[in-house]
Symmetry: C2
C-alpha cells in the first residue's frame, strides 16, 4: 500500500492568483505554473479536509477551519471551492480516491475470489490501523452524522458505501463459483463483513487490542473452505 | 414497548439545598413543589439533549441550543448542569436509562438463552426503527464522534457499549449451555451480532427497507439450533 504522505503532492505557497499574473515572463509558462499552484493548493486543502472530516465530521469542514489549518487565506479557500457544500462534496470524493488507492487498487493485483477478498479485508484493516485518515474510517465517522440528513452529501456517502459492499459481494460470488468456499448468500455475507470491519474500526479507535484478531476470526467463520475433490 | 414520555423516570433536585432551607412558609410543601419543578425542568432538558446528541452528536449539546429547544433560559439550563461536559455526561447516563427501559428490561421477562437473546435483538431493532431517539441509535451516532477523543465521555460510551455486548455474550452462553444452539465463541458472536445491529441502524436511517429482514437472517445464521436428542 502506498502511504498517504507519499502520494501527497508538494505543499506549495498560498499566494493569491492575481500576484502571479503581474509577474513578467513567458505567458504559457505562467499559466502552467498558475494551474499547477492552484492544483497544489487545492490538494493541500483537501488533505486537511478529509482528516478533519474523519475526526470531527464533515460539518466541521469549513472555510475558516481550513484556512487556520493550512495557512491559506479564508478567501483563498473560498475561491477554490465556492460553497461549503461543494467543499464537503469534493472532500468526500477525495476520500474515495485515497481509499481506492490504498485499499482497492493493490487488491486488483491479486486473483479474483478468496485471495482478492482477503487482500481487500487486509488492506481495509491497515487503512484504519495506520490510519489513512486521522480519525480512522471516513465513512464510519460521517455516515453516523449524515444517515439522518437527506441531501447530496448523504447520497454520495451512501453510494460509496454501496460500491464497497458491491465489491465485496462480487468477490464472494467469484469465490463461490470457483468452489473455493461453501455456498452462501453473497449480499448477506458482504453486509456482514462490512459491519464487522466498521465495528473493528471503532474498537481500534478505542484501544481494543484484540480487534484485528477478532475481525479475522469472524471473516474465517464466514469464508468456510470447501474440501478439494 | 412503553413509549418514551411514559417511561421517563423522576429526576433528582436541581436547586442547591441551601437556597431551599432559607424559604419561609410551609417548608415541606414548598420544598416538594420546587423539587418537583426542578426535576421536571431537568427531564425536559435531558429529553432534548439525547435527541440532539442522536442527530448531531454530543458536541452539539450546549446550554444555548438546549435553551432554544426547550424555551428555558440559558442561565436556567446552566444552573441545572453547571458545565457542558457535566450536561453531556448526564445525557449519556439518561440515554442509557431510556435504552435499558426500552430494550433490556422487557427482555428480562423472557427465559434466559435463545428466547431472551431474540427478545433483546427484537427490542433493539424496534428501538432504532421507531426510533427511541430522533437520530436512531445513540451509541452509533456518538461513538463515531468520540472514538478518537479520549476522556470521560468516551469512557462512559465505551463502558455502556461493553455492558451491551457483555449482556449478549451472557445470553449466548446460556443458549450454548442449555444446548439450544451449537457451540460457538460467545464473545465473538456477541461482537458480530452487535456489529450487524449497528450497521442495520445506519441502513435503516438511509431508507434501506431490507435492513430488518437481513439482520434477522444474519442472526439466524449465527444461532444455529442443535437438533433435539
Amino acid at each position: 500500500m502506498i502511504g498517504r504522505m507519499q502520494i501527497r503532492p508538494q505543499q506549495g505557497p498560498a499566494q493569491p492568483a492575481d500576484s502571479v499574473a503581474l509577474l513578467p515572463g513567458h505567458q504559457g509558462e505562467i499559466t502552467d505554473k498558475r494551474l499547477l499552484r492552484g492544483a497544489r493548493t487545492r490538494q493541500i486543502v483537501l488533505c486537511q479536509a478529509v482528516d478533519i472530516a474523519s475526526l470531527d465530521g464533515l460539518e466541521a469542514v469549513s472555510f475558516g477551519r481550513l484556512a487556520t489549518a493550512t495557512g491559506i487565506s479564508k478567501a483563498g479557500v473560498q475561491t477554490l471551492f465556492r460553497t461549503k457544500e461543494a467543499l464537503q462534496l469534493t472532500a468526500v470524493g477525495y476520500a474515495r480516491e485515497l481509499f481506492t488507492e490504498a485499499v482497492v487498487a493493490p487488491a486488483r493485483l491479486v486473483a479474483h475470489g478468496v485471495a482478492r477478498l482477503r487482500a481487500l479485508i487486509e488492506n481495509w484493516i491497515v487503512y484504519v490501523e495506520r490510519p489513512l485518515f486521522a480519525g480512522g474510517c471516513f465513512w464510519v465517522a460521517n455516515l453516523a452524522d449524515y444517515d439522518s440528513r437527506p441531501g447530496p452529501i448523504r447520497d454520495a456517502l451512501k453510494h460509496q458505501q454501496q460500491e464497497w459492499t458491491t465489491l465485496l459481494a462480487a468477490e464472494l460470488r467469484h469465490a463461490v463459483t470457483a468452489k473455493e468456499i461453501r455456498e452462501l448468500d453473497v449480499e448477506l455475507a458482504a453486509f456482514q463483513i462490512d459491519a464487522v470491519l466498521r465495528a473493528t474500526n471503532t474498537a481500534l479507535r478505542m484501544g481494543d487490542d484484540d480487534a484485528v484478531v477478532r475481525a479475522h476470526r469472524i471473516v474465517d467463520g464466514i469464508l468456510v473452505p470447501l474440501p478439494r475433490e
